[in-house]
Subunit: 299 residues, 2 copies
């Protein structure tokens, strides 16, 4: 197989594009996919300061690398979740990348700075670990962006992630989640803009990107995630994708083009937001969900 772009021997095939690429053209392809995504969805404006949610995995490090190559002002934030060896080694990869690219890395440590780790905090709060973790990340990334005067929080969600989330939302017909499932969420009072610039790249491509760029990343999946529904949705979609490459991309982008707006019934969720009595973050109640988690996870 030859590279689609330069006709030299290909090192990777991307079946859903029915194309092969050599190393350099594949890296170019990945950057162009991200550039196109950022442009199409007005994700990042000139001069915007971007804070990347960095886990030390392939997606967030590929994202950081590409944004830097696109001359975007991109800092990282690594959140220590206290998940044993997994957290120790993911932090090492995040710091290694930041040092190599001379890029600023902020750090927040959940056990030291907030007072609980995900495994025992979720257990004390009687929450599914992935749910407690997601809530903590959303809150702390937003808070760090506000504190550090960033315009945008960027996350490394790729096409496989977003297609699997969409599949779960569709299986339950969660109208509110469907209405909000976009690769860009605008800033609003107390929330910075959130963007997902990797939605045109599959996880096999972000992994290949890191390998071909010589970026070291943590290969293991988070041990808390094993057996969760999200991974089951990925597995089911992979079965269909294997038989019909391109299914996931058509599913996700078809949703954005032709279906999402049908689920928007007016902006109920943001209607009654006020500041959390404890931390000031926007919430529909007196105390925000994160502060309630902290209370239950630390007592």
């Amino acid at each position: 197989m030859k590279c689609r772009r330069c006709r030299e021997p290909a090192v990777i095939e991307v079946r859903r594009h029915n194309a092969g690429f050599c190393r350099d053209c594949f890296l170019h392809h990945c950057r162009e996919q991200v550039r196109k995504t950022i442009d199409d969805f007005d994700m990042i404006g000139r001069g915007d300061r971007v804070l990347i949610a960095v886990s030390g995995g392939k997606d967030s490090l590929a994202l950081w690398d590409i944004l830097l190559d696109l001359d975007i002002d991109a800092s990282g934030l690594y959140l220590g979740l206290g998940i044993g060896d997994y957290s120790d080694s993911s932090g090492t990869y995040a710091r290694g990348f930041a040092a190599r690219r001379h890029a600023p890395l902020l750090e927040v440590d959940l056990p030291a700075d907030v007072g609980f780790d995900i495994p025992s905090g979720a257990a004390r709060a009687r929450r599914v670990p992935c749910s407690a973790c997601g809530l903590s990340k959303r809150h702390l990334f937003n808070q760090a962006a506000l504190d550090g005067d960033f315009d945008v929080v960027a996350t490394g969600h790729n096409l496989d992630d977003e297609a699997a989330v969409l599949f779960g939302n569709v299986l339950r017909w969660s109208e509110e989640y469907l209405a909000r499932q976009l690769p860009v969420l605008s800033a609003s009072d107390g929330f910075v803009r959130k963007v997902k610039p990797l939605v045109r790249l599959g996880e096999r491509e972000t992994a290949a990107y890191c390998v071909l760029r010589g970026i070291d990343y943590i290969v293991e999946e988070c041990p808390m995630a094993a057996g969760n529904k999200h991974l089951g949705y990925k597995e089911a979609l992979n079965l269909v994708e294997d038989g019909s490459p391109g299914t996931k991309q058509a599913f996700y982008f078809g949703f954005l083009d032709r279906a999402r707006a049908r689920f928007v019934d007016g902006d109920q969720a943001k209607a009654n937001l006020g500041p959390c009595a404890r931390c000031g973050a926007p919430t529909t109640g007196d105390v925000c969900a994160f502060c309630r988690l902290v209370e239950r996870a630390t007592t």
Copy 2:
């Protein structure tokens, strides 16, 4: 495990209902699910004459058996598709059931009465066999119902079938198909009412129904269907259902409750229907899709 209804030993477990049933209570359960479906969707009125699309498989024979037990005037129509041994033996099962229940069975033979069989006709018309077959069935069942003065055509599509069709429509976000994916389609000029009374029963349940009732049915899948996309969608959904029993039912009925109407943009499809120049069936063109298929499949 005990029967949910009578506490005798159960012979079958239905995981999505978190229930076991003894033989008699299971048969009762299946009948009640069908009765409820018919009532909820106003499928069949008092005195309606129903024509069942009978393939000789578990679904259509279970449907016929249940409708007869519910004292509904239900005849069968068996369509010979000319798919070799498969058609020969499916016809035998259909005739056997009709004789045993003293129920009227009409027959149309595609090769003898129309002039082509599915395998070679689809090849000549350069159509996927399942697509040529579906088109032929829809046309001929509707025509036979009109000719025989039936009020309703009932098909044996079960929950697994409908969830898989929905999954395919959602993966492609086929707005028109989503708008029309209902277990009942009203009669309109040239079309009799179409109903799917088995949408509350999974295929494992219709198979168990037949076994426990002593109904012989053709067990093999149609050989033309092997490897088609529909079976791939079923496999993917089964993977999710295995981990979370009830997913398919929530997916399908959640769609009907909260999503389908969002895809109805006015009745474009039926807007410009006129009679087919050859057979008189409603069509948007001069000649209906079935007559075009016949022309290409027989020349």
